[in-house]
Amino acid sequence: MFKKILIANRGEIAVRIIRACRELGIKAVAVYSEIDRKSLHVRMADEAYFIGPSPSTASYLNMEKLIEVAKKAGCEGIHPGYGFLAENSAFARKVEEQGLVFIGPPASAIELLGDKMAARKTMKKAGIEVVPGTEEPLETEEQGLKIARKIGFPILIKAAGGGGGKGMRVVREEKDLKEAMRACASEAKSAFADARIYIEKYLEKPRHVEIQILGDKFGKVIHLGERECSIQRRHQKVIEESPSPIVDEKMRKKMGETAVKAAKAAGYYNAGTMEFLVDSDKNFYFLEANTRLQVEHPVTEMVTGIDIAKEQIRIASGSPLSYKQEDVSWKGTAIECRIYAEDPENNFLPSTGMVSHYEEPAGPGIRVDAGLYEGCEIPIYYDPIIGKLITWGANRDEAIQRMKRALSEYHISGVATTIPFHIQVLDNEKFKRGELSTHFIQEEFSQGLKVTLEEDELKMVALFAALAEYQNKKRVQSAFGGKNSRVQEKENPWKMEGRRRGLRRFGM
């Protein structure tokens, strides 16, 4: 087993990996950019090294610097977390070339699965159903039209090297195809420096169901069941759960075996995810692979009891898998709500600043994975995921009730978060019945948060504000009357908080 590893990441996932290290008795070395000196991962790590200015290109994406620090600190491996360099095969290769262990899959598998068309080809060859479409990049508009007609509209144009919804467009009618192909190719080129695009059948209201796999360096691969991640906004997952409300034991076995086959076909080891789209008849199609630890891994950890982050490190250090497929069992339901620093009352615009008050939910069935503490700063430079709230229940209903309870206990002030939005989603009747699709939010929450003003609540707000004002006046009066005016002012609880002024002023 390793003695010391470097974590080439920040925020909640760096904290998650530090916790894994601590439980394994491994020293965790953090890195930090200029703005991250006071971040939680720096406070919690055993060691921390400065790696450059705040923009990630100058710090968390600086491969040479990261490897240099890892060697200097005497690390044996590098865990990339998710995002940043996690799915960069060049980084994985460089790390290994320098005699360090990349805690993730082999560079070859990252490369193969990172190219969506190559991945589709590999999977088809292995006998795995993929979403109908092209295996080669489109050369001409005529070619595109021919294929689109063959598989039938609506179709989806996607960037071969892409992700995160960029360079992706739905085309419902022939007449829009040309313009869409042009736009996607141009977007893809500017976003990924790779203009290749391809066509996929566009499934109406599919579910996004993915299988977690674990493989060791000795060729053994197992699966840990599925996660349903259909609740997405702008192609970003918002709420995930395991098991999926539509997957039964038989389907889990079938999907699991398919995912294991897919991983083997790609020469995969370490943790990874095979994503599938599931249509209304429960047919499932390989969509793409995520060659990293995923944001939503905790729901699988909670239903299986297997610590995926620790298992990743064990596997990377050369240990065989700690579990056989038959050791894996599932109990209850786990749900994750991603907490974004975005304002759901304001079109989900990013929110930055200081967390002025912070209280985490606790008690039975709750897990909080966050990079927050009272007084910390949310910078503008990085991903807006500031934390994840995960609940477990003996069944889906209990997990949902716990989540609602936990969200109501989660106090974050100073920055706006998506907590109020999650509460509304959990109260949605379709969500409660498990009727999910990737179009759920678009259909049920097209306007974002539903801002309703309850008369009873407004009355209380008016009352509290008036009492505050009254106390405030009294204090000021006694301050001007008495000797201790300075002390009084110092204790004035009604400090103006500049940030909030801006909130409603946005727009014109």
Binding site: H357, A466, L467, N492, R499
Partner: protein
């Protein structure tokens, strides 16, 4: 002391008097039992209103109070009842301070300005795209207007609350 509290377009009367060191509070004319305690300075309070428990953050702004409660935030404007009455008598209406500017709600990088000077802009129309937290965010117009001046260029880094576009 009598206050008129306004939240959005609704008004509430709150009457607070002190007798023997105890507060007596009326809400819209009805007596109500209120107990409050500061949980954490400066902004956190626990209120018991007719025994119902509220965990509340109250932040004083220059012109209003922000009340954070049950995971939602509300802005509340307060006036002395006397002032409020005088204003009503004088036909003095609440000014709607609609600023003729589009400001960025967060620091970031200007990716695009989607309007030019002289353009007529409609509510909901995209005006500017700002990149922050690795995401592009489109800032939309909140009402109709005409563009007077564009103050920033694509590629420019902007601070929070910086004016991007001025309207007529």
């Amino acid at each position: 002391m009598k206050y008129v509290a306004r939240i959005e377009d609704k008004n509430y009367q709150i009457d607070i008097t002190e007798a023997d060191g105890r507060l007596e509070v009326k809400l819209n004319g009805k007596p109500i039992s209120v107990d409050f305690a500061q949980i954490k300075p400066p902004n956190f309070f626990s209120f018991l209103v007719d025994n119902i428990s509220f965990d509340v953050e109250i932040i004083k702004n220059s012109e209003s109070y922000w009340v954070n409660m049950n995971g939602r935030k509300y802005e509340c404007f307060l006036e002395d009842e006397k002032i409020s009455r005088l204003k009503d008598i004088a036909g003095f209406k609440k000014e709607i301070l609609q600023e003729k500017e589009l400001k960025t709600p967060m620091p970031g990088l200007v990716l695009a300005i989607e309007v030019k000077e002289g353009d007529l802009v409609k509510t909901g129309q995209g005006v500017a795209i700002i990149e922050a937290m690795k995401m592009e965010n489109e800032l939309k117009a909140k009402f109709d207007g005409k563009v007077k001046k564009v103050k920033v260029k694509p590629g420019q880094a902007v601070d929070k609350d910086e004016v991007l576009v001025v309207f007529e």
